[in-house]
Amino acid sequence: MSTSTSAIASPASLPEERHESIWGKAIYKLRRDRAGMVGFAIVTAYFIAALGVWLGIWGTHWSDVEGPKWSPMTSEFWFGTNIIGQDIFQRAIYSTKTAFEIGLVVAVLSTLTGAVMGALAGFFSGTWIDEIILWIKGVLDSIPFYLFVAAVAFALQDNPYAMHVAMVSTFWTTTGRLVRGEVIKLRNFEFVEAARAIGVPQIVIIFRHILPNTFHILLVQATIVFVAAIKSEVILSFLGLGVQDGVSWGLMISESTLEVLAGYFNNFIWASVLLFGLVMAFNMFSDALQDALDPKKVAAP
């Protein structure tokens, strides 16, 4: 028989408002993380730039051959021109839209796929459903990424979305694995037993009760995939497997490989700087997000 002193009161409260839910606490922590907030601001700036391109407000002359070959940075051509005479600034701004497009599409789709597959695998863990999904994951993980993209590009007959398909097909596996692990844990919680006892059908249990508890994982993974997608596009464009219509930083950089040998660095530098800016800012934000949602994650505590 316990004779503990727990009949008495509860622990001290913080002077600030109490944040009970994981989200409330997260937003609170996030707002105080300076690096993360700076990252977020920068990303927002890029996003506005992309929006402007999408709405046709700026960056529209990205393919026009307007100037002399390799013009230096002047007031007319803020970043100079490339080997064909296209305005580097216009191209760089246009590429913002490309980047967001790829990043968002791949991030959203792969996160959704990972969530669903992971939830199914985890909930039915130990059965053939789980085995098959794990097998698929294993197979996709073992195929070298660039080969896979190439293969998909062939199979889809050079469809401009081949790259997106390939990326989504490979990027969902990590999310899937994490969600599966979490669902296995959650499956044993009492609220699942309770729902079962009331007769809630399994599908509903999975998607309405368990999956929402993995949203913090999904959010973090989405940001990681966003960055991975943008970075992958760069290399894919260099290999000729990436963006087919339009322009992207990756294409600009691959174009610049020749220019660079001749000593003209503008194209290379500006595309690299802008790319680095977005990726770095997003990484900082992603770190802050991870920190806010789960203090056991990577960044310095």
Binding site: M1, S2, T3, S4, T5, S6, A7, I8, A9, S10, P11, A12, S13, L14, P15, E16
Partner: protein, 339 residues
């Protein structure tokens, strides 16, 4: 100092331990003083957050050092002040003169090393003996803590043992170099009731056999009643009362102690409408009241209680004391404020 105090094994004076938090430094332990005498079992009792674990950790200088630190005070063991000792010397004392065992036997042992390896590591750290001799000594200790077939167990890994056995292994490790003082932080809280009783019994037996003092940190008054001769009651970072277990249970002097005792569910002659609880909540360490920290919840509170915090008034032999302006069950001629 009187003769009594001169014989104390451990003397803690004015110990303050602070933690850096987002909102500023917080004092988990705020100016506590007590003595531990050889061969006695003393309990430190209080609810979660009262500072008893931090007190235990400070005795071995194990308070995690980025957020926490010992701000002031002395911890005198055998003439040297542990609070000032350089880390290297402190490491030499740990496991040798003073040992500590922790609450979670499941995670307290390294899962990738065998029991024997972990025990002989401790032995060979403090004594220069051969591996063979260390292994024999370890087997011996395992037997002493009540583990059967120790020659086999010693090569097993922690995950192959039950919680109770793991705790016994911890005790064996702690005692292997014959320390003068053992600090046990909630050693049985994570165990089931039957195992709890066995492990406690073991600790009591070993205390006698090894002639050491034991500090038993717990929130469970039942444990105190069964195993300790004396107890120290902590509340909100302070010591509010200390005395023999009998005195504490029969004639509690601090209203908090009284409240604790009353809230223990027990068999009564008549039915009562509600279980007695102490009303209110423990004050927030960031915004402490001006006077006694228990004032808001005390049914005997008076005006002077809220002015300044009462200091611990200690008996001549330093074995008992109370920090209250209006103690209950007060016996005459007991008061002396420590230095």
């Amino acid at each position: 100092m009187t003769d009594e105090v001169a014989k104390a094994l451990l003397s803690v004076r004015n110990l303050v331990v602070e933690f850096d938090t987002r909102y500023g430094p917080v004092r988990a332990v705020d100016d506590i003083s007590f003595d531990i005498f050889p061969n006695e079992t003393v309990g430190i009792v209080g609810e979660s957050g009262c500072g008893k674990t931090v007190t235990g950790l400070s005795l071995l200088r194990l308070v995690p050092s980025p957020p926490g630190r010992i701000v002031q005070g002395s911890i005198i063991l055998n003439g040297s002040d542990l609070a000032q000792l350089p880390e290297k010397d402190m490491a030499r004392l740990r496991g040798d003169e003073i040992s500590m065992i922790f609450q979670e036997p499941m995670t307290a042992l390294n899962p990738v090393l065998s029991v024997g390896e972990q025990m002989t590591d401790v032995l060979r750290q403090h004594r220069s003996i051969t591996k063979r001799a260390a292994r024999d000594a370890a087997i011996d200790m395992l037997l002493k803590v009540g583990i059967s077939v120790p020659e086999k167990r010693i090569d097993e890994y922690p995950h192959e043992l039950s919680g109770g056995m793991r705790q016994r292994v911890m005790i064996a490790m702690a005692l292997s170099c014959n320390p003068k003082l053992l600090v046990a932080d909630e050693p049985t809280t994570a165990l089931d009731v039957t195992t709890q009783a066995q492990v406690l019994e073991q600790i009591v037996m070993l205390q006698e056999e090894f002639h050491m003092a034991v500090i038993l940190i717990t929130h469970d008054l039942g444990v105190i009643a069964e195993t300790c001769q004396r107890a120290i009651v902590m509340y909100c970072g302070n010591i509010v009362e200390a005395g023999t277990t009998a005195d504490l249970f029969e004639r509690p002097r601090h209203p908090y102690t009284k409240g604790l005792l009353e809230s223990i569910p027990r068999l009564r002659d008549e039915r009562i409408p509600e279980l007695p609880v102490i009303p209110g909540m423990v004050p927030d360490l960031m915004s402490l009241p001006a006077g006694c920290r228990f004032a808001d919840r005390c049914q005997y509170v008076q005006a002077d209680c809220r002015q300044t915090p009462p200091r611990l008034k200690v008996s001549d032999d330093t074995r008992s004391g109370v920090a209250c302006y209006h103690p209950l069950n007060q016996e005459p001629g007991l008061v002396r404020t420590p230095a």
